[in-house]
């Protein structure tokens, strides 16, 4: 019988991501509440149906409200402020999500050469998703 490997203490990747998962989860809840409140202030109660309001709450992109009764989407709904909100949501969401995928995968994959390979693959997918999403945000 040999002693158990005790994880290193301090600012390790695991600890940083553990804290980040909690903080980004709370941040996404606040961003969603903020987006929904702002939607109601801008007149969502009479101009939107429920699925449109949900799409806007999850991600405040003008394409998400384009099929509603809002007369002019460019006024209020599509501007730099909401683009920054979208980028924050994308950064928190994509990082939270791909870190979760890493945690789930590392529960089932042992310390072989596969682990660093999968970590690299997840890192590339994370980078690709962030770049593509920011491109879409800036072009919409």
């Amino acid at each position: 019988m040999r002693s158990r490997n005790v994880p290193q203490l301090g600012w390790t990747l695991e600890y940083i991501m553990w804290v980040f998962t909690r903080l980004s989860g709370l941040a996404m809840l606040l961003l969603a509440a903020f987006g929904m409140t702002a939607a109601f202030i801008m007149g969502a109660r009479t101009q939107m149906d429920l699925p449109t309001l949900m799409r806007w709450t999850f991600f405040p992109n003008p394409n998400h409200v384009i099929n509603s009764d809002i007369p002019d989407v460019t006024a209020g709904w599509a501007n730099a402020f909401w683009q920054i909100m979208q980028m924050l949501l994308i950064f928190f969401g994509v990082t939270h999500g791909f870190n979760g995928l890493r945690v789930v995968i590392e529960d089932y994959v042992d310390h072989s050469f596969l682990r660093p390979m999968l970590r690299g693959l997840i890192f590339l997918l994370w980078l690709f998703s962030i770049i593509v999403a920011i491109y879409v945000i800036l072009a919409s």
Binding site: N5, G25, L50
Partner: protein
């Protein structure tokens, strides 16, 4: 430490009760959201830039109300369960009441989700 047991088969026999079920659902809904959001971002890119047919098919699937009911379950469940986990992590003394916390979470989740999908199914069947 490496798990060399047959995790899947033992997991089916393991009786963790309600905390195990909510943990399992948290994983499944989390992976579901990652798949949904990842495909949605890529489809949005191809739709916006090239008007791609596959991207249009994926986007119209995402806009259909039965699919939105599934996505809404994943997002709301994952958000509320994650909030419970975060609260219990911030105040570990509350871990003594973790089963009660799960019941409170379900008592919040079921009315919000039920009311929303009631409206969505009603609108979907009428065609609104």
């Amino acid at each position: 430490m490496t798990l060399r047991r047959r995790v899947w088969l033992q997991g089916l026999r393991y009786r963790g009760g309600l905390p195990m079920v909510v943990w399992l659902l948290h994983r499944i809904t989390g992976l579901g959201i990652l798949l949904f959001v990842g495909m949605h971002v890529i489809a949005a890119f191809f739709l916006q830039q090239f008007g791609n047919d596959v991207a249009i098919a994926i986007t119209s699937l995402y806009e259909s109300w039965p699919f939105q009911i599934v996505v809404y379950f994943c997002v709301l469940y994952h958000a509320l369960n994650g909030l419970r986990v975060t609260i219990l992590d911030i105040w570990p003394q509350l871990l003594e009441y973790q089963r009660e916390a799960i019941w409170i979470q379900l008592a919040i989740f079921i009315p919000i989700y039920g009311l929303t999908i009631f409206i969505m199914i009603q609108n979907g069947l009428i065609g609104g």
